[in-house]
Symmetry: C2
Subunit: 145 residues, 2 copies
DNA sequence: TTTGACTCCGTAGTCAGGTACGGAAGTAAG
DNA sequence: CTTACTTCCGTACCTGACTACGGAGTCAAA
């Protein structure tokens, strides 16, 4: 079923996009995915574009965009608002970089702690516990979009 | 008020830790912050350790740990069992490293997108929008603890 | 034609992480 | 001593992103 069949029900769409029917409906309610007209009989049909759009949403989400931001991104979809899209992405990039920096600090600290803990021959005094409060108190301020 | 005054009310604590009274109470309900005994009169008093703990929670959270995980991290404080603490920390370290790897991918993707977007001289085709539909469809699945 | 799976749609529930409300009691300044 | 601000505590509410439920209609195979 990896083949391109250009007319599917919502269940098939869900499978194709590796998500759930209820999630798609939820995106429809949020205006992120359009609700196609009903064919005769009352069953709505979806095409490849719908699959692509779900991929888009998933990708953007994976990059750290909230559904609201995904909505903004989708408004720029026609490709004529490149600048705006870029600015949005730049903000996110800054955020991601700050997160990486923070995690690297955390990594170094934990790594050091584990190392010292492993070498400590005094079972009564865990070096890690001691450090948790003293070393780590100065976190970068939160600056999300 | 940056000076170390070692006895403050919850309101002052909130200001010192740049958070809100209600948030602190919420952390207390979740067992992340201890509830000190009431002094005469019934007003609880907090010290520098409480400030440090709040900073710790905020830092860890910013680094992407859930409050539940923060709780585990904080449990390291209680046990004199260095081994257990170390194992937990090692686990967290792996977690942190996976996070970093994920974020680095994210960084590369965004960076590339922004760059291509900046260089594009065709106002009709935004490279970022385009890639969201095509490139990014294979996001790594969430592999959190 | 009956059975079973799927669809439609609305509403409700879940989980994380808070935020707000409200009344009683403590506390500090004038 | 009054007035205004805090604190305390319990409970309720909120946002984001789903997830579940239920009843009615649709469809395809046996």
């Amino acid at each position: 079923m990896t083949t391109s069949q250009t007319s599917m029900t919502i269940g098939t769409l869900a499978k194709m996009a590796d998500t759930h029917v209820e999630t798609i409906r939820y995106y429809q309610r949020r205006g992120l995915v359009e609700v196609p007209e009903k064919a005769y009989g009352g069953i709505r049909r979806y095409d490849e574009k719908a699959v692509a759009r779900l991929h888009f949403i998933r990708s953007a989400q994976w990059l750290g965009f909230s559904l609201e931001q995904v909505g903004e991104l989708l408004k720029l979809e026609d490709g004529t608002h490149c600048d705006e899209a870029r600015v949005l992405a730049e903000h996110k990039l800054g955020d991601v970089r700050r997160r990486i920096a923070g995690l690297r600090q955390m990594e170094a600290t934990l790594d050091d702690l584990v190392e010292r803990c492993r070498c400590s021959r005094d079972p009564q005094r865990c070096p890690m516990i001691h450090s948790l409060y003293t070393d780590l108190s100065d976190a970068p301020e939160n600056s999300d979009t």
